[in-house]
């Protein structure tokens, strides 16, 4: 975990109300893992808004990292005003990311990445790492993207460049399957034959999607992990504000996990969805 003052290298629109922010970094970028996140002080030294805002990594290198953010309120509106050369206070890398390496009998397993909205950026980070580390064959990496319309299928081209298998869905049918991305996932799981237990489904996006994916996963008996989005104050375990209801030690019991340190990536089967 580092506290860095990063310089804005780039802050450009990539989709309606969506920006890509690239920041210089000596420490955070080098340490960043897929699924981890940073806390950004959008208002600099002003007290309004007071709290930092959490954002997943889209990409990371030893000298920089980038985020892809949706402008939804006061903090992200201020971020949209960031100009090249501005200084930004950042905390990171934070949290526990996605599972990268895992033992499977003679690596027969596939990786299924299911993303929606601003849940897509961290999955791109993950896909890129899986390809780079040759953890699984490109042909075994299947990415499922969902969005309201095709202009919001974030990172689509980047995934194509990676050479992974892409499956698309839009609510309005402007591209790919018309409907939910989970429907595409189900179809895929039904039609294709591969060793599910040694596969792993990673998903990130709106909570209803995460819930649906982990239900599907458990139906098919496929291990799955989800990256949750909960309101946070500190982002590193100091406030206990980011509670997530998960299964407790004893059957039927529950406890509140601290999403910023135990997560944001959790085993889907552990979460008690309401």
């Amino acid at each position: 975990m580092f506290k860095e003052t990063c310089e804005v290298l780039e802050n450009k629109t990539v989709a309606p109300d969506h920006f890509l922010l690239k920041l210089s970094s000596k420490k955070i970028g080098k340490a960043a893992l897929p699924g981890q996140f940073v806390q950004i002080l959008c208002s600099g030294d002003s007290l309004d808004p007071l709290l930092p805002r959490p954002f997943s990594f889209l990409e990371a290198s030893p000298t920089s990292f980038s985020l892809l953010y949706h402008v939804v309120g006061q903090g992200t509106e201020l971020m949209a005003k960031f100009k090249k050369g501005d200084k930004v206070h950042v905390l990171g890398p934070l949290g526990k990311g996605f599972t990268l390496r895992r033992k499977t009998e003679d690596g027969r397993g596939k990786r299924l990445l299911v993303g929606g909205g601003v849940g897509i950026p961290p999955l791109y980070h993950l896909a890129k790492d899986l390809v780079r580390t040759k953890e699984v064959k490109k042909s075994d990496i299947h990415v499922f993207l969902g969005a309201r319309n095709k202009s919001l299928l974030l990172c689509e081209k980047d995934f194509l460049k990676l050479g992974v298998q892409l499956h698309l869905a839009t609510d309005d049918g402007s591209k790919g399957h018309k409907g939910y991305v989970t429907q595409v996932l189900v179809k895929f799981l039904k039609s294709s034959i591969f060793h599910l237990p040694s596969s792993l489904i990673h998903s990130c996006g709106p909570t209803p999607m995460l819930k649906a994916v982990s239900l599907v996963a458990s139906e098919f008996g496929a291990p799955n992990e989800v990256s949750v989005e909960v309101p946070m104050a500190c982002g590193f375990g100091a406030c206990l504000g980011c509670a997530l209801k998960v299964k407790g030690e004893t059957p039927g019991s529950h406890r509140f996990a601290i999403a910023c340190t135990e997560g944001p990536v959790f085993e889907g089967s552990k979460i008690l969805w309401d």
């Binding site: 506290k3 709290l51 509670a243």
Partner: protein, 312 residues
């Protein structure tokens, strides 16, 4: 000649007046990457209860103008597991450790402190008499008792004197701000044998989502903290320090050294940094540096020259 930042709180000699506030510093380990924790004047732990507590369901926090609401609900492992799992790390730091303790009855308060007293590595206790996040609706007697503690000088006196019987260690009473007469509450704690009082805990407050027409927090109300409450906290420390003989630990929206100095000049003997730790994990360390710079600039050599130096 060197600066002497040390201050005395009960039996504890703090090498400097900058502590971190209960519930805002995790279990300290979360901050070790950011600065050398040995720098701290002291650490006040998250409030520990007799039994483990799961805490409140989410959402537990919401941002407000220059502040935030929290309704964590005292999530903590309970006194036994605190001693096993968390205390060892704190002990190793070589910094005064003040354990924040609370019970749902006078008896429980005594039990928690008695149990803690058997462990070593603890320098003192801050009795949390003012946790605002007990459900309003609650009917059970113990809970409603807790709700009363900091709002009722007789209850304060009862709890503090009871705990005073079971420990010789430094005892600090942490009071809440939702009262007309804070000095009266502080005097009750002093009378009952408290070595110091901590001011202030959070204000009971509420944010409503107009779209859903529901309180944003699952607990409905939460505790308001942060810069927004600082002017009220400074006033409460000022009027209390004039009335009590025991030291006052001041807190409420301290973001930097200037804010800490406001509290010290108003009458606080030491300060606690809370919410600021979330935005800036180095806040407490920077507050300390800033106080040193101030002393050099103003050619001061000891805290005596600052504490309660307010002119009028």
């Amino acid at each position: 000649m060197g600066l002497d930042l040390s201050v005395q709180i009960g039996k504890i000699k703090l090498k400097n007046p900058v502590l971190v506030a209960s519930g805002t510093f995790g279990h300290a380990k979360e901050f070790e990457d950011f600065f050398d924790l040995k720098k701290l004047g002291g650490i006040v732990t998250k409030t520990i209860t007799l039994k483990p507590r799961l805490g409140n369901p989410p959402p537990r926090i919401v941002e407000t103008p220059a502040g935030m609401l929290n309704a964590i609900g005292l999530q903590n492992p309970g006194v036994e597991r605190f001693i096993e799992d968390k205390l060892p790390y704190l002990k190793k730091l070589g910094v005064p450790i003040i354990v924040s303790a609370m019970g749902y009855s006078v008896d429980e308060f005594m039990q928690v402190v008695q149990t803690l007293d058997r462990a070593d590595g603890i320098d003192g206790y801050e009795l949390n008499l003012s946790c605002p996040n007990v459900p309003y609706s609650s009917k059970t007697e113990t809970l409603s008792l807790v709700k009363m503690f900091a709002h009722d000088d007789r209850m304060i006196e009862e709890v503090v004197s009871a705990v005073r019987q079971v420990t010789d260690k430094t005892l600090i009473a942490k009071l809440g701000p939702d009262v007309s007469d804070v000095p009266k509450m502080a005097l009750a704690a002093e009378k009952a044998g408290a070595d110091a009082v901590s001011l202030i805990n959070t204000f009971i407050a509420m944010v409503i989502d107009v779209k859903t027409r529901k309180p944003v927090l699952a607990n409905k109300t939460g505790g308001l903290s942060g810069p927004c409450i600082r002017p009220i906290a400074v006033r409460m420390v000022w009027e209390t320090a004039k009335r009590v003989k025991i030291p006052v630990l001041g807190m409420g929206g301290i973001m930097n050294a200037e804010h800490a100095l406001e509290f010290l000049i108003a009458g606080a003997t030491a300060v606690q940094v809370g919410t600021a730790n979330f935005m800036n994990p180095e806040a407490s360390s920077q507050v300390l540096n800033g106080i040193e710079d101030f002393m050099k600039k103003e050619k001061l050599s000891s805290m005596k020259e600052i504490i309660r130096s307010v002119k009028s």
